[in-house]
Structures are given as C-alpha cells and as structure tokens.
C-alpha cells in the first residue's frame, strides 16, 4: 500500500488508471448490453445457472449430465432455446412415459423455469432462438401464399385442414387446431419428433409468417357449408351418413311403409 501511494506520481500511473477505467466501462457495457434483451430482472448468468440446476434435476437422467445425450435421449447441444421452449412448455418434455412419440400435455415447468432451462441449453451451443413478437407479426402477410406453402410442406402429415394425421408405428403429426403461432414457428425451426427442420433458408421468415397466418385462418374460419364434421373429408361424412342420415331415412321408410289404416 505504502509503495502504491509512493508511486502515484509515477509517469505510467495515469496511463494505467486510464486502462482500468476503460476496462471497467467496457466490462459494464458488455454485461449490460448482453442481458438487456433477455428477462430484465434476471441476469443471463443467473438464468443459465438456475437453468442448469433444473436441468440436472429433471432432464439429465436421459439427456446426460452435460447434455451430451445418452441411449435414452438425444444430445441437446445445439438444439437451441426454441427447441426447449417448444418441448417443455407444450408438456412433451419431461417425457411422461416412453411411447411412439412424446405427447403434448400439461406443462411441468412454469414460464420462468422454461426460460431458465432454455437459457442453459442455449448457452451450450448456438441454435434456433425463441421467436420475438416481431418474428410472429402476421399483419400484411399473404394468407393465400401461406395456404399454398402449407399444402406443399405441411398438409401431407398435418392434413389439409390442419387436423393432424397418422405416421408409421403409432407416430402421428398432431392437430394444429390449438397451436400458438410461437409453437408453430418453433416447430418449423427445430423439427420436433418426426418433423423435418424448415430452416430459414428453405422457408424464409416471411413464408413462415404466411404459413402461421394460414393456420390461424384455418383455426378461426367458420365453416361456410354448415356443420363441419371435423373437416377431415369422407370418413366423418360416412359416419354421419350411416348414423344420422340413415336413421332419418329409416324412420321415414318405416312410417311410410306401415300398413295403411
């Protein structure tokens, strides 16, 4: 201490002081600018740490202590925050029971915990990000283009009306009738379960917004023809034909066919 005080007028002291000040400013700026877009109350570092704790408790038995994957679950390095957000907030993860594929259900983690888990997994390697409100803004998009893209890329599994469809060995493409825009975006960029990844180079963000707008149109549009019978085409029409319609016609036939009195 004494020597420091003694050397305070050393010619290099000023330069050294300046260096410290610059480093401090840069450091503060770096920390502040990194945490600003994330949740304001929680710094990234604490989120990652909290997320890691949750991860070790709830996920590591299948995905490995370092998220490197085990025989029971794939590696999570590089899957990105979007994958975590999609799988955990839809209740697909943690896996309730082994089966053909993970089933959606009630979420086991609340929003804050999901964000922490997502931050931890995102910290392992770069990957798809959770979409921002701007990403999902469907004002001024071409719904008809979205329909075309939907029928070309999605309908073969999710069905033209988005009602879902069967895949092999008990796997299935779920119905999109209750899907949120964020979920749809995340599914496209991460390719959960049997779904392929539709990266920004195969379907541009604009096209993704168009598809989301078309799915919203499917979800909200009324059926112009009356009772829609699930919009899955001939199967429900057949069931309706051989129950309600057949009953009405049989009733009429029996009434008319009764002996005249």
């Amino acid at each position: 201490m004494k020597s420091l005080v003694a050397r305070r007028r050393h010619p290099l002291a000023l330069a050294l002081l300046l260096l410290f000040a610059l480093a401090a400013v840069a450091g503060i700026y770096a920390v502040a600018s990194a945490s600003a877009p994330a949740i304001a109350s929680d710094s990234t570092q604490t989120q990652v740490e909290e997320g890691k704790k949750l991860y070790l408790e709830g996920c590591s038995s299948c995905h490995g202590l370092g998220a490197e994957g085990t025989v029971n679950g794939p590696t999570l390095i590089g899957v990105g925050a979007a994958a975590v957000d999609f799988q955990v907030s839809s209740g697909r993860m943690p896996l309730a029971a082994p089966g053909a594929q993970a089933q959606a259900g009630p979420a086991m983690y609340d929003e804050k915990e999901v964000a922490q888990l997502a931050a931890y997994v995102a910290s392992l390697a770069p990957g798809p990000q959770i979409p921002t409100a701007e990403d999902l803004n469907t004002d001024n998009v071409d719904v008809a283009l979205g329909g075309l893209l939907f029928r070309t890329n999605c309908a073969q599994c999710h069905q033209a009306a988005g009602g879902g469809g069967a895949l092999t060995q008990g796997k299935y493409a779920p119905s999109l009738m209750g899907s949120e825009p964020k979920e749809i975006w995340e599914a496209m960029v991460t390719g959960p379960q049997s779904m392929p990844v539709f990266s920004d180079s195969s379907i541009t963000p604009d096209d993704k917004r168009a598809i989301i707008a078309y799915i919203e149109e499917l979800q909200t549009s009324a059926s112009p023809g009356g009772l829609d019978l699930g919009r899955i085409g001939p199967v429900t029409e057949t069931v309706f034909l051989f129950t309600a319609v057949a009953a009405a016609l049989a009733f009429a036939a029996i009434w008319i066919g009764m002996k005249a009195r």
Binding site: A100, A161, Q169, G170, S221, D228, L241, L249
Partner: protein
Amino acid sequence: MSTVEKVGAGAGTYVDQRLGSNRFLKRSLSKVFPDHWSFMLGEIALYSFIVILLTGTYLTLFYKPSMVEVIYQGSYVPLKGIAMSEAYASSLDISFDVRGGLLLRQMHHWAALIFVAAVSVHLLRIFFTGAFRKPREFNWIIGVVLLTLALGAGFSGYSLPDDLLSGTGLQIARGIVQAIPIIGTWGAFLLFGGQFPGDDFISRIYSVHILLIPGLILALVTVHLMMVWVQKHTQFPGPGRTNNNVVGYPLMPVYMAKAGGFFFIVFGIIALLGGLVSINPIWIFGPYTPDQVSAGSQPDWYIGWLDGMLRTMPNWETAVGGITISWNVFIPAVVLPGLIFTAMALYPFLEAWVTGDKREHHLLDRPRNAPVRTAIGVMSLTFYMLLWIGGANDIIATTFDLSINAITWFLRVALFVLPPLAFVFTKRVCLGLQRKDRDKLLHGYESGRILRLPHGEFVEVHEPLDVKERAIIESRLMTDHAPLPMPASVDAAGVANKHYRVKRLQAKLSRVWYADQIPAPTMAEIEEGQHHAAHGALSEAPLHAHADALENVPFHGGVLHTPGEEKTNQEQLNDRGGHL
C-alpha cells in the same frame, strides 16, 4: 258430380279418345303393391337419383370442365391469387359466388352418397330375402350393373372439382390402370391423353359423369321398374299371401300418396343436409397439383372398401423380363373387385344350380329359412366392413391412438379369419331361430305365465299362435326343399354317366346347402300342437276363475294383469273402481 270430377272426367275422355289410354290407366292405377318398410329402400334410391339429376343440372350451368390454368380472383380470400385449373375455380365460384350454389353442390353430393347407400342396402334386402330367385334373375343382374354404374357416377363426380382430394383419387385410379399387366401403361396414356394429370381428363370424365352414366342409369332404372311392374312385386309371407297372389293396396290412391309423400321426405332430408351439414369442403383441400397430398385423404364411402384392400395388401411385385407386375395394386384393385362383382351378378344362377330349385318364387324367404345364403351374406358384409376399417386406417389410428401398422396387420389376419367365423355364427343363429319356429308351431308360444299343477309341478302355459304369426312361420313349408340326390356313375343299362363329376359336385353342394336344416313339422303335427297349446291355455282359466283370481295381487312384473281373465287390464281396473 263435383266440378273437379267433371273436369277430370272431361280431360280423361279427351285424352282417351286420342291415345286410348283409359284401359291402360285403369289397369295400372289399380295395380296392387304389398306393404313393407324395406320395399322403400329402392324408392330412396330412385328419389335421391331424381334429386341428383335436378341439382346436377343446376351445377352444369356454372361448372367449367377445363384444365386451363387461371389465377383465382373470387371471393374466397385464402385462395386469392393462387393458380388453379378452371374446373376448380368454377367449383369455388359455385361454392362462394353463385347464388344457392353451395347449397345445391352439397345437396348433390349428399344425394349421391344416399343414392349409392340406398342402392346397396336395397341390394342387401333383395339378397337376404331371396327376391332374386326365379323369375327375377335378370332384374338382379340389372341391379348389380346399376350398382357399378352408381360407383362410376360417384367416382367421376368426386373427380370433377379438381381439388387436392379428387386429384389424389385420380392419381390412384391411374395407378390402378397402370397396374394391369401389358396394357396398363398404354391404357393410362389413352385415358388421360398423355402424362398425368394432363389437360384432357377433366373434360372427358365430365361427359362420362353428366351424359354417359346418367343416361345408362336412367335407361336401366326404367327397365328395372318395368320388370318389377310386369313380374309383380314380391311380398313377405303373411295371412292369405301365397306365391300366386299379391296382397296390398292399389297404386291409386294409396301408393300414389305414399310414394309421392316419401319423395318429398327424401328430398326434404337431402335439402336439410345440403343446407346444414358441410360435405367435401374443396376450399380447404386446395387446388390439385401433383406435388401435393393431404394426410387423411379418403375416397367417398362406396370406394372405401377398394381403398381398404389397396391399403391392406402387402407390397408384392414381380419383375419378369424387365416388366414389373405390381401384384400389390393389380390384385386388390382389379382382380378382386372383378371377381366380387362377377360372383355377385352370377349369384342367383349359382344358388339355383346348387339348390336345384326351378320353381318361381314370389313369396320372400325369411333369412333364417335359408341359413347358408344368409351366412354367405353376413360373411361378405363382414369382409366388406373390415375393408372400411382398412380404408380409414389413418383416421382410425389418430382417433384411437393406434399404430397404423398394427391396424394393417390386424386386417391382414382378420380378413381371412373373421368372415368364416361370421358365416358359422350366422348359420347357427339361423338354425336356432328355425328351432324356435318349430317349437312355436308344435307347442304354441311361451306365454311367460307359470302354472303350478295340483301335484306340485310347475309348467309354463303355452298359447296358440295368432293367425299372422302362424302364416309367417308356416311359409317355410311352401319353400322347404330337399337336397339333390347323388347321381349314379352308371345308369341301369351300365352306360357311364358323362356328367357324373359335375352332378356329384352339384349334389354335394346341395347337401351343404340343406345340411343341418331343422325339419319343418307337417301340417298335421302343427294342427295338433296348436290345438294342444290352446287346450293348455284354456285349462289355466278355470284355475284362476276360482277364488284366487281376486285375491291375487294383480301385478305381474309391474303390469296389471290377472291371467286367464278375458277382460283387458283397463276393464279390470274399472271393475275395481279405478284403483288397484
């Protein structure tokens, strides 16, 4: 004479003096038809066909059978600016921009589904009651041809909107044509006028749909009805009904009113469906392009069984000298349907050959009295309905959380196991019912009342059958027939029988046909049985006439009823001053 009658008579005379129509009208209008609700099934088919013609005519005013590519600019926003065929665009216009178009389109489609269903169920009624027997074999064949035409009409109509679903169906149809060995590829080129989907097919199938098939159906329906007219309608057995008469009501006024009323009921139901229940929402499926397909693509119900066979068939192929024969498509989509429809058309002749029955039949069979025929019918229906499961396998898989592969394998086994089981089961049920009928004839019906005899024995009181039931059950005596005799391999002179093998097969099948039939009692046995039952029921009466009749709590299973009394329940109640 009222004014109406005067005008009517005047008009009738005027026409008769020019056409000589009165004799014809008099005979026709008093023609008698029998009553039964199942006779209405064919009428449903006819009436729905009329609705199809009416609504279809309206649709042709706006539909454009053209594959020219246009950019949609109609009022359905989610397809605005999309390239599509003119056929699809005009179908969208019918749905959204033509006044009443969607209602008429939906009525047309619902009526088509009802038409094929009514034809099919009508055919089942004819089959199970043996109405196809001599002299009605030709009319049965016409019916089978009408059914295939109905399938053709339905499928061609399904293809016209050129939406994603109909295009998918056409692609499968083309695959089926291609699967026919040797001529397949050429056949497909010929039909589609080149590569798939080409520019020609919609206009070609349009003329098939609106001209060729409806024309054929109309012509054949006319012949079908004329034959019913000439041969007279069959009737179910009942009191006073024999093979030589028709018991019922005259066409005018009873059946005119009934048939006319029924037409409007059927029309009304179809109109309600068209207005209230969506069918084939083509705007959801989008325009057809060969690079798109939707999950859960299904044909309409009547093609479902064919699709089911295609989906269930294992993927067998053979390559012979550079040519691949696709058994996986050829067998389920060409060979089996061909065999099934041929067998169906020939069935009356096959059955007559096996039974050796050359008599005319105007009185219908009760299904139980022809157990093998009924069992064949239920076996075929089981096969058919299993194939429906096959056709809807993906929808069933997602709806019931099943694996689509498991459904396919279930069907591959079940299609061979369940129909024979259904055969055996049905035959046993028929024989059981025959036994029950025999018991009723020999002992009367079980009244459900238990009588305790003086020495302590309990017996159930049997009562004689009423006239109607007896006539129905006894109808079997008129149709029962013994199996054909085994032929001799050499005749009395020692000459070898040239047809021995064929005749032996016929006799063997005949034995199978009649095997296990419960022998019908003779008339004398029946009279005795009924008499006995009447006597037994009478013997119960004096017992109740004694004091216990009034002391008895007048409840039998919650119904006010004092056994053996002549009076009705209401009269008994009144006797007691209205309270129990």
